[in-house]
């Protein structure tokens, strides 16, 4: 199986800032079409395409839009470009290669829900992308491509939790980026209390192609229940440490061994962590699973952001997981107890085991704490934090056992 480029088809052949370049390769046709459609029919078309969120939760995009009350006077379209999941840089690549597809996608969403104001929340580590996007918006306006839809770019400031949609909204409002209780969901009461659609960069960037080529076309690409392509980023002990756009029914094995070129330095495969640092570690025997959202779920993993971290046979799993627990301790916003205390204690215990000072009791406590965090944390950060720990104790228990006293 090979790469399939839709979003990245003209990568490095067009100037990402230039609306003219984008229009030359068929850009802004989807928006034109969207504007001629009834709002209901447009949302229906997006629903029918089967497009599901590329930011991690995998929610049907058209469905999400359909929850927005039609009669609200002000509504917002927000693009999540916080991209903080370690090992992930696909949204940056989409912007660097095809920024106007994102802008067009946001305007299509605006047409569907009746909003004329969009915000892009870009992580603070990407100041050059903020610049690129501002220039792209300028260029689109000059070309008259966005009509009355306006887009403002805001910059985050180094907080992973701000990728969570309600924390992101808090941050745009100028507050500490702490997640809100849900419901109400942003679709009903989001930015400044009004209905707001939050979607990921890649989700928005799919929309022009869906509108141009039809929902049916999109629905038949890749896996039936999570159709389309996915941009994945390969890191770790892999020959081709780069990004690929693949149909969603490609197996992990093909991603790693065909596109990725296999393990570096002639070594053997040990484990792969998919979906970034909050994802599960997957052993060799599960590599023949397609990468789509539901298939990954059946092996207790998640596609997440599409990050693929490969570890070779020499890697110390417990040491890697110890580092990951430090990440969550650092990034926990502290609003709720199971996560604030949990990530701290989790790091403490895993570190103890990693230093060869842990006992079997500690492993039991780790698993108990993991269950509490998964069930009682307020947002996805605390809920996902124990996943790397639990999945490695499940699949690589011997690595822990040999470090116990």
């Amino acid at each position: 199986m090979e790469e399939m480029r839709i979003l990245l088809k003209y990568a490095d052949q067009i100037n990402p800032e230039s609306a003219q370049d984008y229009i030359k390769v068929g850009g802004y046709k989807g928006l034109e079409k969207a504007r001629l459609m009834e709002k209901k029919a447009l949302i229906e078309e997006v629903k029918k395409s089967g497009l599901r969120g590329r930011g991690g939760a995998g929610f049907n995009a058209g469905m999400k839009w359909s929850f927005v009350p039609q009669d609200a006077p002000v509504k917002y379209v927000v693009c999540n470009l916080d991209e903080g999941e370690p090992g992930t840089y696909k949204d940056r690549i989409i912007c660097e290669k095809n920024a106007h597809a994102l802008l067009e996608g946001m305007a299509i969403c605006g047409a569907a829900i009746g909003s004329d104001q969009g915000y892009i929340y870009c992580r603070g580590e990407y100041p050059f992308i903020v610049k690129l996007l501002k220039n792209a918006v300028q260029s689109a306006k000059q070309a008259g491509a966005l009509g009355n839809f306006d887009i403002e770019v805001r910059m985050g400031a180094g907080a992973y939790v701000c990728g969570e949609e309600t924390a992101l909204i808090e941050s745009i409002e100028g507050h500490r980026g702490e997640p809100r209780f849900k419901p109400p969901f942003p679709g009903v009461a989001g930015l400044w209390g009004v209905p707001t659609v939050v979607n990921n960069v890649e989700t928005f960037a799919c929309l022009p192609y869906i509108l141009t080529n039809g929902a049916q076309w999109f629905a038949t690409i890749g896996a039936a229940k999570y159709p389309g392509t996915k941009v994945v980023t390969l890191t770790g002990d892999i020959v081709n440490a780069t990004y690929f756009e693949v149909p969603t029914n490609m197996t992990l094995r093909d991603v790693i061994f065909k596109l990725g070129g296999g393990i570096k330095n002639g070594k053997k495969f040990k484990a792969v962590q998919v979906g970034g640092t909050s994802g599960a570690f997957i052993p060799e025997e599960n590599l023949d699973t397609p990468i789509d959202f539901d298939s990954m779920g059946t092996i207790g993993a998640a596609l997440g952001s599409g990050a693929v971290l490969v570890l070779d046979e020499t890697r110390d799993i417990v040491d890697t997981v110890a580092r990951i627990t430090k990440f969550f301790e650092h990034e926990s916003c502290g609003k709720c107890n199971p996560c604030r205390e949990g990530t701290f204690r989790m790091r403490e215990m895993v570190q103890k085991v990693n230093e060869g000072k842990g006992t079997e009791r500690d492993l039991e406590s780790i698993l108990l704490l993991a269950r509490v965090m998964r069930r009682a944390s307020l947002c996805g950060l605390g809920q996902a934090a124990p996943i790397p720990v639990e999945s490695t104790i499940k699949h690589f228990k011997y690595e822990y056992m040999r470090k116990l006293i």
């Binding site: 985050g156 180094g158 100028g174 980023t233 440490a241």
Partner: protein
């Protein structure tokens, strides 16, 4: 150097724009001086305590004075397995400071960061937000001596 009052005023019309104002201040001063924080609080209509709460929430913002060049070493898992620890040690040795400190001449501050989204070329450091790729310990002297 632009006056912090002007920098804050340039963001004034933006709803919720205090973080944008902090970015503007920091790009000139490398941190958010106390007077600037107080001014921003006033302009954006929040208490100083609240503005301080915002500034300290975000790891990219600093309310402590920092050096002219801020080095950040990524220690997230992909950079970690690629040898980030050895690079941090090399930087600490070269500068004679521990992580979190600023050199006596006020030139460099060394900080840790989580993934900065450049994982195609691990390990990665940034110097004043500019990423430097595939860094190894022996490259540190030549990389850092280029900053005057």
């Amino acid at each position: 150097m632009a006056n912090y009052k002007d920098l804050i005023a340039s963001q004034q019309g933006k709803k919720g724009g205090i973080i944008e104002a902090f970015h503007a201040i920091q790009s000139e001063y490398n941190y958010i001086p106390k007077e600037a924080l107080e001014e921003a609080a006033k302009v954006f209509g929040m208490s100083e305590a609240k503005a301080y709460g915002v500034a300290t929430f975000y790891s990219y913002l600093s309310t402590e004075k920092r050096g002219k060049y801020i080095i950040r070493m990524c220690e997230s898992a992909p950079c970690h397995v690629a040898g980030a620890d050895a690079v941090i040690k090399a930087i600490e040795n070269y500068l004679g400071i521990a992580t979190g400190q600023t050199t006596a001449d006020g030139k460099f501050t060394l900080e840790l960061t989580e993934c900065i989204g450049q994982c195609q070329a691990t390990p990665v450091i940034t110097v004043n937000s500019e990423p430097i790729f595939n860094v190894t310990p022996d490259m540190i002297p030549s990389i850092l001596s280029a900053y005057k």
